[in-house]
Protein backbone atom coordinates (compact mmCIF):
# COMPACT_ATOMS: atom_id res chain seq x y z
CA UNK A 1 0.00 0.00 0.00
CA UNK A 2 2.06 2.87 -1.31
CA UNK A 3 1.96 6.15 0.54
CA UNK A 4 4.26 8.30 -1.52
CA UNK A 5 4.21 12.05 -1.28
CA UNK A 6 1.37 12.82 -3.62
CA UNK A 7 0.00 15.12 -0.96
CA UNK A 8 0.86 18.39 -2.58
CA UNK A 9 -0.92 17.32 -5.74
CA UNK A 10 -4.33 17.12 -4.19
CA UNK A 11 -4.48 18.82 -0.80
CA UNK A 12 -1.97 21.56 -0.63
CA UNK A 13 -1.16 20.25 2.82
CA UNK A 14 2.54 20.66 3.53
CA UNK A 15 4.49 17.47 3.98
CA UNK A 16 4.99 18.03 7.70
CA UNK A 17 1.33 17.31 8.43
CA UNK A 18 1.30 13.94 6.72
CA UNK A 19 1.67 12.00 9.94
CA UNK A 20 0.32 12.48 13.43
CA UNK A 21 3.19 13.87 15.45
CA UNK A 22 4.29 16.30 12.77
CA UNK A 23 1.29 18.60 12.74
CA UNK A 24 1.79 21.96 14.39
CA UNK A 25 -1.39 23.35 15.97
CA UNK A 26 0.08 26.77 16.45
CA UNK A 27 0.51 27.33 12.75
CA UNK A 28 -2.99 27.73 11.44
CA UNK A 29 -2.80 28.76 7.82
CA UNK A 30 -5.60 30.98 6.44
CA UNK A 31 -8.52 28.87 5.14
CA UNK A 32 -7.54 25.95 7.30
CA UNK A 33 -9.85 23.84 9.47
CA UNK A 34 -10.09 24.68 13.18
CA UNK A 35 -7.39 22.20 14.13
CA UNK A 36 -4.94 23.27 11.45
CA UNK A 37 -4.68 19.81 9.96
CA UNK A 38 -6.72 20.37 6.85
CA UNK A 39 -8.44 23.00 4.72
CA UNK A 40 -11.98 21.68 5.12
CA UNK A 41 -13.18 24.83 6.84
CA UNK A 42 -16.89 24.56 7.68
CA UNK A 43 -16.98 21.02 6.26
CA UNK A 44 -14.55 19.85 8.94
CA UNK A 45 -15.73 17.48 11.63
CA UNK A 46 -14.23 19.75 14.25
CA UNK A 47 -15.64 23.00 12.86
CA UNK A 48 -17.19 25.05 15.64
CA UNK A 49 -15.81 22.95 18.47
CA UNK A 50 -14.57 24.67 21.63
CA UNK A 51 -10.83 25.46 21.48
CA UNK A 52 -10.10 22.95 24.24
CA UNK A 53 -11.94 20.20 22.36
CA UNK A 54 -10.15 21.08 19.16
CA UNK A 55 -6.77 20.89 20.80
CA UNK A 56 -7.72 17.51 22.29
CA UNK A 57 -8.86 16.36 18.88
CA UNK A 58 -5.69 17.60 17.33
CA UNK A 59 -3.65 15.27 19.49
CA UNK A 60 -5.50 12.17 18.32
CA UNK A 61 -5.84 12.77 14.62
CA UNK A 62 -3.47 12.80 11.72
CA UNK A 63 -3.63 13.46 8.00
CA UNK A 64 -2.70 10.60 5.70
CA UNK A 65 -2.38 10.44 1.90
CA UNK A 66 -3.41 7.49 -0.24
CA UNK A 67 -3.05 6.86 -3.94
CA UNK A 68 -5.79 5.71 -6.27
CA UNK A 69 -6.56 1.99 -5.81
CA UNK A 70 -5.01 1.95 -2.34
CA UNK A 71 -7.05 0.05 0.21
CA UNK A 72 -7.64 2.06 3.40
CA UNK A 73 -9.01 -0.93 5.30
CA UNK A 74 -10.70 -4.22 4.55
CA UNK A 75 -13.97 -5.76 5.61
CA UNK A 76 -13.31 -7.67 8.83
CA UNK A 77 -10.30 -5.59 9.91
CA UNK A 78 -10.59 -4.37 13.51
CA UNK A 79 -12.21 -0.95 13.44
CA UNK A 80 -9.50 1.21 14.92
CA UNK A 81 -10.10 4.54 13.22
CA UNK A 82 -12.67 6.82 11.64
CA UNK A 83 -11.76 8.73 8.48
CA UNK A 84 -12.66 12.19 7.27
CA UNK A 85 -11.91 12.98 3.65
CA UNK A 86 -9.97 16.16 2.96
CA UNK A 87 -9.61 15.61 -0.77
CA UNK A 88 -10.31 12.92 -3.33
CA UNK A 89 -12.92 10.19 -3.47
CA UNK A 90 -13.33 6.85 -1.71
CA UNK A 91 -15.59 3.87 -2.41
CA UNK A 92 -16.63 1.32 0.19
CA UNK A 93 -17.86 -2.10 -0.85
CA UNK A 94 -18.73 -5.61 0.18
CA UNK A 95 -17.81 -8.71 -1.80
CA UNK A 96 -19.57 -12.03 -2.17
CA UNK A 97 -17.51 -15.25 -2.30
CA UNK A 98 -18.06 -15.56 -6.07
CA UNK A 99 -16.79 -12.04 -6.71
CA UNK A 100 -20.02 -10.12 -6.99
CA UNK A 101 -19.43 -6.66 -5.59
CA UNK A 102 -21.72 -4.06 -4.10
CA UNK A 103 -20.39 -0.57 -3.58
CA UNK A 104 -22.47 0.57 -0.64
CA UNK A 105 -21.31 4.19 -0.70
CA UNK A 106 -19.04 6.79 -2.23
CA UNK A 107 -17.39 9.39 -0.04
CA UNK A 108 -16.02 12.82 -0.97
CA UNK A 109 -14.41 15.87 0.59
CA UNK A 110 -15.94 16.50 4.00
CA UNK A 111 -17.50 13.03 4.34
CA UNK A 112 -16.70 10.70 7.21
CA UNK A 113 -16.74 6.91 7.25
CA UNK A 114 -15.43 3.92 9.16
CA UNK A 115 -17.65 4.08 12.25
CA UNK A 116 -17.83 0.66 13.87
CA UNK A 117 -17.78 0.85 17.64
CA UNK A 118 -15.74 -1.91 19.18
CA UNK A 119 -16.04 -4.22 16.23
CA UNK A 120 -14.75 -4.85 12.73
CA UNK A 121 -15.26 -2.81 9.60
CA UNK A 122 -18.36 -4.01 7.76
CA UNK A 123 -16.87 -3.14 4.38
CA UNK A 124 -13.68 -2.50 2.46
CA UNK A 125 -12.64 1.09 1.75
CA UNK A 126 -10.63 1.90 -1.36
CA UNK A 127 -9.34 5.17 -2.77
CA UNK A 128 -10.75 6.02 -6.20
CA UNK A 129 -8.46 9.01 -6.75
CA UNK A 130 -5.48 10.24 -4.78
CA UNK A 131 -6.96 10.89 -1.37
CA UNK A 132 -6.07 12.92 1.69
CA UNK A 133 -7.84 11.76 4.85
CA UNK A 134 -7.92 12.88 8.43
CA UNK A 135 -7.59 9.76 10.56
CA UNK A 136 -9.26 9.71 13.98
CA UNK A 137 -8.43 6.76 16.25
CA UNK A 138 -11.76 5.31 17.36
CA UNK A 139 -10.90 4.63 20.98
CA UNK A 140 -9.49 8.04 21.69
CA UNK A 141 -12.25 9.76 19.78
CA UNK A 142 -14.65 7.83 21.98
CA UNK A 143 -12.88 8.91 25.14
CA UNK A 144 -13.00 12.50 24.01
CA UNK A 145 -16.67 12.17 23.13
CA UNK A 146 -17.42 11.13 26.72
CA UNK A 147 -16.12 14.44 28.01
CA UNK A 148 -17.22 16.68 25.14
CA UNK A 149 -20.92 16.26 24.25
CA UNK A 150 -20.42 18.40 21.14
CA UNK A 151 -18.19 15.69 19.68
CA UNK A 152 -20.68 12.91 20.32
CA UNK A 153 -23.46 15.08 18.98
CA UNK A 154 -21.52 15.74 15.78
CA UNK A 155 -21.03 12.01 15.32
CA UNK A 156 -24.73 11.35 15.79
CA UNK A 157 -25.58 14.01 13.24
CA UNK A 158 -23.22 12.54 10.67
CA UNK A 159 -24.63 9.08 11.23
CA UNK A 160 -28.22 10.31 11.04
CA UNK A 161 -27.54 11.90 7.68
CA UNK A 162 -25.90 8.70 6.47
CA UNK A 163 -28.86 6.63 7.61
CA UNK A 164 -31.23 8.85 5.64
CA UNK A 165 -29.03 8.39 2.56
CA UNK A 166 -29.23 4.64 3.01
CA UNK A 167 -33.01 4.72 3.10
CA UNK A 168 -32.96 6.54 -0.21
CA UNK A 169 -30.47 4.14 -1.71
CA UNK A 170 -32.45 1.11 -0.58
CA UNK A 171 -35.48 2.58 -2.35
CA UNK A 172 -33.37 3.04 -5.46
CA UNK A 173 -32.08 -0.53 -5.41
CA UNK A 174 -35.34 -2.15 -4.45
CA UNK A 175 -37.83 -0.35 -6.65
CA UNK A 176 -36.34 1.86 -9.33
CA UNK A 177 -35.72 1.04 -12.99
CA UNK A 178 -32.28 1.28 -14.59
CA UNK A 179 -33.08 4.67 -16.07
CA UNK A 180 -34.39 6.01 -12.78
CA UNK A 181 -31.34 4.72 -10.94
CA UNK A 182 -28.87 6.47 -13.21
CA UNK A 183 -30.85 9.71 -13.06
CA UNK A 184 -31.06 9.51 -9.26
CA UNK A 185 -27.38 8.75 -8.97
CA UNK A 186 -26.29 11.71 -11.08
CA UNK A 187 -28.61 14.11 -9.28
CA UNK A 188 -27.32 12.80 -5.97
CA UNK A 189 -23.73 13.51 -6.98
CA UNK A 190 -24.80 16.96 -8.09
CA UNK A 191 -26.56 17.70 -4.80
CA UNK A 192 -23.63 16.54 -2.75
CA UNK A 193 -21.23 18.64 -4.81
CA UNK A 194 -23.36 21.72 -4.21
CA UNK A 195 -23.64 20.94 -0.53
CA UNK A 196 -19.87 21.11 -0.21
CA UNK A 197 -19.69 24.38 -2.09
CA UNK A 198 -18.83 23.10 -5.55
CA UNK A 199 -20.85 23.69 -8.71
CA UNK A 200 -23.64 21.18 -9.16
CA UNK A 201 -23.48 20.88 -12.86
CA UNK A 202 -20.34 20.59 -14.82
CA UNK A 203 -19.78 17.41 -12.83
CA UNK A 204 -16.59 15.34 -12.79
CA UNK A 205 -17.16 11.65 -12.12
CA UNK A 206 -14.17 10.32 -10.20
CA UNK A 207 -15.47 6.75 -10.49
CA UNK A 208 -15.76 4.62 -13.60
CA UNK A 209 -18.85 3.06 -15.13
CA UNK A 210 -18.12 -0.24 -13.40
CA UNK A 211 -18.12 1.48 -10.00
CA UNK A 212 -21.37 3.25 -10.77
CA UNK A 213 -22.90 -0.04 -11.89
CA UNK A 214 -21.80 -1.81 -8.72
CA UNK A 215 -23.27 1.01 -6.67
CA UNK A 216 -26.73 1.18 -8.23
CA UNK A 217 -27.14 -2.52 -8.86
CA UNK A 218 -26.73 -2.64 -12.63
CA UNK A 219 -24.12 -3.70 -15.20
CA UNK A 220 -21.62 -1.47 -16.95
CA UNK A 221 -23.49 -1.82 -20.22
CA UNK A 222 -26.82 -0.76 -18.76
CA UNK A 223 -25.28 2.31 -17.11
CA UNK A 224 -23.58 3.24 -20.36
CA UNK A 225 -26.77 2.83 -22.37
CA UNK A 226 -28.80 4.92 -19.93
CA UNK A 227 -26.30 7.77 -20.01
CA UNK A 228 -26.00 7.69 -23.78
CA UNK A 229 -29.75 7.85 -24.06
CA UNK A 230 -29.95 10.82 -21.66
CA UNK A 231 -27.41 12.52 -23.90
CA UNK A 232 -29.40 11.73 -27.08
CA UNK A 233 -32.49 13.15 -25.39
CA UNK A 234 -30.69 16.35 -24.49
CA UNK A 235 -30.93 15.87 -20.72
CA UNK A 236 -27.18 15.53 -20.33
CA UNK A 237 -24.01 16.61 -22.03
CA UNK A 238 -21.09 14.19 -21.99
CA UNK A 239 -18.00 15.98 -23.32
CA UNK A 240 -15.94 13.06 -22.04
CA UNK A 241 -16.67 9.85 -20.18
CA UNK A 242 -16.00 11.45 -16.80
CA UNK A 243 -17.56 14.84 -17.51
CA UNK A 244 -21.29 15.27 -17.04
CA UNK A 245 -23.20 18.47 -17.60
CA UNK A 246 -26.80 18.37 -16.47
CA UNK A 247 -28.83 20.17 -19.15
CA UNK A 248 -32.35 19.62 -17.89
CA UNK A 249 -32.26 19.08 -14.13
CA UNK A 250 -36.04 19.16 -13.75
CA UNK A 251 -36.65 16.59 -16.44
CA UNK A 252 -33.95 14.40 -14.93
CA UNK A 253 -35.51 14.82 -11.50
CA UNK A 254 -38.90 13.82 -12.84
CA UNK A 255 -37.40 10.64 -14.25
CA UNK A 256 -35.55 9.93 -11.01
CA UNK A 257 -38.82 10.17 -9.07
CA UNK A 258 -40.61 7.77 -11.35
CA UNK A 259 -42.22 9.79 -14.12
CA UNK A 260 -42.82 7.43 -17.04
CA UNK A 261 -40.26 9.34 -19.10
CA UNK A 262 -40.62 7.91 -22.64
Amino acid sequence: MARSSVTALHTGTPADTDTCPAARPGVRAPGRGPCGHCDLGPLAFCDGFAPRTVSNLWRVQCTVPFEAHDTLFREGDPGVAVYSIVSGAVKVYKLMPDGRRQITAFFFRGDMFGFCLGGSYAYTAEAITPVGVCRLPMQRLNDLANTAPEVQDRIVRRMTAKLAQFHDHVLLLGRKTARERVATFLLGLSDRARRRGEPGSPLTLPMGRADIADHIGLTVETVSRAMTRFKREGLLDLPSASQVSIRQPDALRAIAEGATGG
Copy 2:
Protein backbone atom coordinates in the same frame (compact mmCIF):
# COMPACT_ATOMS: atom_id res chain seq x y z
CA MET B 1 -55.13 6.42 14.54
CA ALA B 2 -56.81 4.23 17.17
CA ARG B 3 -55.12 3.82 20.52
CA SER B 4 -57.52 1.57 22.31
CA SER B 5 -56.46 -0.47 25.31
CA VAL B 6 -54.95 -3.44 23.54
CA THR B 7 -51.95 -3.05 25.82
CA ALA B 8 -52.64 -6.01 28.04
CA LEU B 9 -52.84 -8.26 25.02
CA HIS B 10 -49.26 -7.80 23.98
CA THR B 11 -47.15 -6.22 26.68
CA GLY B 12 -48.56 -7.03 30.05
CA THR B 13 -47.96 -3.39 30.90
CA PRO B 14 -50.67 -2.15 33.25
CA ALA B 15 -52.90 0.57 31.91
CA ASP B 16 -51.45 3.22 34.21
CA THR B 17 -48.16 3.27 32.30
CA ASP B 18 -49.72 3.88 28.91
CA THR B 19 -49.02 7.59 28.93
CA CYS B 20 -46.11 9.64 30.16
CA PRO B 21 -47.21 11.09 33.47
CA ALA B 22 -48.79 7.87 34.68
CA ALA B 23 -45.67 5.72 35.06
CA ARG B 24 -44.43 5.21 38.60
CA PRO B 25 -40.67 4.82 38.85
CA GLY B 26 -40.79 3.65 42.42
CA VAL B 27 -42.79 0.57 41.51
CA ARG B 28 -40.35 -1.58 39.60
CA ALA B 29 -42.03 -4.89 38.91
CA PRO B 30 -39.80 -7.97 38.73
CA GLY B 31 -38.50 -8.53 35.18
CA ARG B 32 -39.06 -4.92 34.28
CA GLY B 33 -36.65 -2.60 32.49
CA PRO B 34 -34.52 -0.25 34.61
CA CYS B 35 -37.02 2.59 34.36
CA GLY B 36 -40.07 0.51 35.16
CA HIS B 37 -41.83 1.43 31.94
CA CYS B 38 -41.38 -1.82 30.11
CA ASP B 39 -40.24 -5.42 30.45
CA LEU B 40 -37.40 -5.24 27.95
CA GLY B 41 -34.77 -6.04 30.58
CA PRO B 42 -31.30 -6.15 29.00
CA LEU B 43 -32.77 -5.22 25.61
CA ALA B 44 -33.91 -1.85 26.99
CA PHE B 45 -32.27 1.31 25.75
CA CYS B 46 -31.76 2.40 29.33
CA ASP B 47 -30.36 -0.90 30.61
CA GLY B 48 -27.24 -0.30 32.66
CA PHE B 49 -27.66 3.46 32.89
CA ALA B 50 -26.84 5.21 36.15
CA PRO B 51 -29.88 5.59 38.44
CA ARG B 52 -29.85 9.34 38.01
CA THR B 53 -29.84 9.03 34.22
CA VAL B 54 -32.63 6.47 34.35
CA SER B 55 -34.78 8.71 36.47
CA ASN B 56 -34.15 11.58 34.05
CA LEU B 57 -35.05 9.31 31.16
CA TRP B 58 -38.13 8.18 32.96
CA ARG B 59 -39.45 11.72 33.00
CA VAL B 60 -39.21 12.12 29.23
CA GLN B 61 -40.48 8.82 27.96
CA CYS B 62 -43.83 7.14 27.83
CA THR B 63 -45.25 3.84 26.66
CA VAL B 64 -47.82 3.94 23.89
CA PRO B 65 -49.88 1.15 22.29
CA PHE B 66 -50.74 0.94 18.60
CA GLU B 67 -52.90 -1.49 16.68
CA ALA B 68 -51.94 -3.30 13.52
CA HIS B 69 -52.00 -0.96 10.49
CA ASP B 70 -51.73 2.14 12.67
CA THR B 71 -49.31 4.71 11.35
CA LEU B 72 -46.82 5.87 14.01
CA PHE B 73 -45.53 8.73 11.87
CA ARG B 74 -45.25 9.64 8.21
CA GLU B 75 -42.37 10.54 5.95
CA GLY B 76 -41.92 14.29 6.16
CA ASP B 77 -43.45 14.68 9.64
CA PRO B 78 -41.25 16.69 11.99
CA GLY B 79 -39.03 14.25 13.87
CA VAL B 80 -40.13 14.83 17.42
CA ALA B 81 -39.58 11.43 19.00
CA VAL B 82 -37.54 8.23 18.90
CA TYR B 83 -39.29 4.91 19.44
CA SER B 84 -38.21 1.75 21.20
CA ILE B 85 -40.33 -1.34 20.59
CA VAL B 86 -41.51 -3.22 23.66
CA SER B 87 -43.68 -5.71 21.80
CA GLY B 88 -44.93 -6.33 18.28
CA ALA B 89 -43.46 -5.49 14.89
CA VAL B 90 -43.15 -2.29 12.88
CA LYS B 91 -42.30 -1.68 9.23
CA VAL B 92 -40.86 1.56 7.90
CA TYR B 93 -41.16 2.42 4.23
CA LYS B 94 -40.82 5.04 1.54
CA LEU B 95 -43.28 5.54 -1.30
CA MET B 96 -42.80 6.73 -4.85
CA PRO B 97 -45.41 9.01 -6.45
CA ASP B 98 -46.77 6.14 -8.55
CA GLY B 99 -47.27 3.91 -5.51
CA ARG B 100 -44.17 1.78 -5.64
CA ARG B 101 -43.17 1.01 -2.07
CA GLN B 102 -39.87 0.08 -0.47
CA ILE B 103 -39.88 -1.22 3.07
CA THR B 104 -36.45 -0.12 4.25
CA ALA B 105 -36.56 -1.98 7.55
CA PHE B 106 -38.55 -4.10 9.97
CA PHE B 107 -38.29 -3.49 13.70
CA PHE B 108 -39.02 -5.84 16.59
CA ARG B 109 -38.90 -6.00 20.37
CA GLY B 110 -35.86 -4.10 21.62
CA ASP B 111 -35.24 -2.23 18.36
CA MET B 112 -35.18 1.56 18.14
CA PHE B 113 -36.09 3.77 15.20
CA GLY B 114 -37.06 7.31 14.30
CA PHE B 115 -33.71 9.05 14.73
CA CYS B 116 -33.66 12.25 12.69
CA LEU B 117 -31.93 15.10 14.50
CA GLY B 118 -33.66 18.39 13.97
CA GLY B 119 -35.31 17.35 10.76
CA SER B 120 -38.18 15.33 9.37
CA TYR B 121 -38.70 11.60 9.36
CA ALA B 122 -37.22 10.09 6.22
CA TYR B 123 -39.82 7.33 6.11
CA THR B 124 -43.26 6.28 7.27
CA ALA B 125 -43.58 3.89 10.22
CA GLU B 126 -46.52 1.52 10.45
CA ALA B 127 -47.46 -1.14 12.97
CA ILE B 128 -47.64 -4.65 11.50
CA THR B 129 -49.07 -6.23 14.64
CA PRO B 130 -50.39 -4.68 17.83
CA VAL B 131 -47.39 -2.77 19.12
CA GLY B 132 -46.20 -1.35 22.40
CA VAL B 133 -43.54 1.32 22.06
CA CYS B 134 -41.53 3.43 24.42
CA ARG B 135 -41.62 6.97 23.06
CA LEU B 136 -38.64 9.24 23.73
CA PRO B 137 -39.04 12.92 22.80
CA MET B 138 -36.06 13.77 20.61
CA GLN B 139 -35.29 17.20 22.02
CA ARG B 140 -35.31 16.13 25.65
CA LEU B 141 -33.40 12.97 24.87
CA ASN B 142 -30.84 15.18 23.20
CA ASP B 143 -30.61 17.49 26.21
CA LEU B 144 -30.12 14.49 28.45
CA ALA B 145 -27.49 13.08 26.14
CA ASN B 146 -25.46 16.27 26.51
CA THR B 147 -25.14 15.70 30.25
CA ALA B 148 -24.95 11.90 30.23
CA PRO B 149 -22.33 10.52 27.82
CA GLU B 150 -23.64 6.99 28.37
CA VAL B 151 -26.91 7.98 26.68
CA GLN B 152 -25.18 9.47 23.66
CA ASP B 153 -22.90 6.47 23.49
CA ARG B 154 -25.84 4.08 23.51
CA ILE B 155 -27.42 6.02 20.65
CA VAL B 156 -24.22 5.83 18.63
CA ARG B 157 -24.02 2.08 19.20
CA ARG B 158 -27.59 1.54 18.05
CA MET B 159 -26.99 3.62 14.95
CA THR B 160 -23.72 1.87 14.18
CA ALA B 161 -25.47 -1.50 14.27
CA LYS B 162 -28.22 -0.16 12.03
CA LEU B 163 -25.68 1.17 9.54
CA ALA B 164 -24.04 -2.24 9.32
CA GLN B 165 -27.43 -3.81 8.66
CA PHE B 166 -28.00 -1.34 5.86
CA HIS B 167 -24.72 -2.26 4.21
CA ASP B 168 -25.85 -5.89 4.21
CA HIS B 169 -29.26 -5.01 2.87
CA VAL B 170 -27.82 -2.88 0.10
CA LEU B 171 -25.69 -5.85 -0.94
CA LEU B 172 -28.80 -8.01 -0.95
CA LEU B 173 -30.77 -5.56 -3.09
CA GLY B 174 -27.96 -4.71 -5.44
CA ARG B 175 -26.42 -8.08 -6.14
CA LYS B 176 -28.38 -11.07 -4.89
CA THR B 177 -30.81 -13.27 -6.81
CA ALA B 178 -34.41 -13.78 -5.71
CA ARG B 179 -33.55 -17.10 -4.09
CA GLU B 180 -30.58 -15.64 -2.26
CA ARG B 181 -32.65 -12.70 -1.06
CA VAL B 182 -35.35 -14.86 0.47
CA ALA B 183 -32.79 -17.13 2.14
CA THR B 184 -30.90 -14.12 3.51
CA PHE B 185 -34.09 -12.53 4.75
CA LEU B 186 -35.25 -15.60 6.65
CA LEU B 187 -31.84 -16.18 8.20
CA GLY B 188 -31.74 -12.54 9.20
CA LEU B 189 -35.06 -12.82 10.98
CA SER B 190 -33.81 -15.96 12.68
CA ASP B 191 -30.61 -14.28 13.84
CA ARG B 192 -32.44 -11.28 15.19
CA ALA B 193 -34.89 -13.50 17.05
CA ARG B 194 -32.03 -15.36 18.70
CA ARG B 195 -30.31 -12.10 19.55
CA ARG B 196 -33.32 -11.00 21.57
CA GLY B 197 -33.50 -14.30 23.36
CA GLU B 198 -36.16 -16.04 21.30
CA PRO B 199 -35.75 -19.36 19.46
CA GLY B 200 -34.19 -18.95 16.03
CA SER B 201 -36.15 -21.60 14.30
CA PRO B 202 -39.80 -22.17 14.67
CA LEU B 203 -40.17 -18.66 13.32
CA THR B 204 -43.37 -16.61 13.19
CA LEU B 205 -43.51 -14.10 10.36
CA PRO B 206 -45.50 -11.10 11.54
CA MET B 207 -45.43 -9.57 8.06
CA GLY B 208 -47.16 -10.83 4.93
CA ARG B 209 -45.61 -11.88 1.62
CA ALA B 210 -46.27 -8.45 0.15
CA ASP B 211 -44.27 -6.80 2.93
CA ILE B 212 -41.42 -9.25 2.47
CA ALA B 213 -41.47 -8.58 -1.26
CA ASP B 214 -41.39 -4.82 -0.77
CA HIS B 215 -38.47 -5.22 1.63
CA ILE B 216 -36.22 -7.41 -0.51
CA GLY B 217 -37.07 -5.85 -3.86
CA LEU B 218 -39.20 -8.61 -5.37
CA THR B 219 -42.88 -9.32 -6.08
CA VAL B 220 -45.26 -11.33 -3.93
CA GLU B 221 -45.27 -14.15 -6.45
CA THR B 222 -41.51 -14.46 -6.57
CA VAL B 223 -41.26 -14.57 -2.77
CA SER B 224 -43.96 -17.20 -2.63
CA ARG B 225 -42.30 -19.32 -5.31
CA ALA B 226 -38.92 -19.14 -3.60
CA MET B 227 -40.35 -20.23 -0.26
CA THR B 228 -42.36 -23.03 -1.79
CA ARG B 229 -39.26 -24.28 -3.54
CA PHE B 230 -37.25 -24.19 -0.30
CA LYS B 231 -40.01 -26.28 1.24
CA ARG B 232 -39.97 -28.78 -1.66
CA GLU B 233 -36.22 -29.07 -1.26
CA GLY B 234 -36.53 -29.78 2.44
CA LEU B 235 -34.70 -26.64 3.57
CA LEU B 236 -37.78 -25.21 5.23
CA ASP B 237 -41.01 -26.37 6.79
CA LEU B 238 -44.06 -24.19 6.28
CA PRO B 239 -46.84 -25.49 8.53
CA SER B 240 -48.74 -22.30 7.76
CA ALA B 241 -48.08 -19.19 5.72
CA SER B 242 -46.69 -17.32 8.73
CA GLN B 243 -44.84 -20.22 10.35
CA VAL B 244 -41.35 -21.05 9.16
CA SER B 245 -39.17 -23.80 10.50
CA ILE B 246 -35.62 -23.78 9.25
CA ARG B 247 -34.67 -27.39 8.55
CA GLN B 248 -31.24 -26.99 7.03
CA PRO B 249 -29.71 -23.72 8.28
CA ASP B 250 -26.31 -24.42 6.76
CA ALA B 251 -27.68 -25.17 3.31
CA LEU B 252 -29.83 -22.06 3.53
CA ARG B 253 -26.83 -20.03 4.61
CA ALA B 254 -24.80 -21.35 1.69
CA ILE B 255 -27.53 -20.22 -0.68
CA ALA B 256 -27.78 -16.84 1.01
CA GLU B 257 -24.05 -16.29 0.52
CA GLY B 258 -24.19 -17.12 -3.15
CA ALA B 259 -23.60 -20.86 -3.53
CA THR B 260 -25.02 -21.88 -6.90
CA GLY B 261 -27.69 -23.95 -5.14
CA GLY B 262 -29.32 -25.72 -8.12
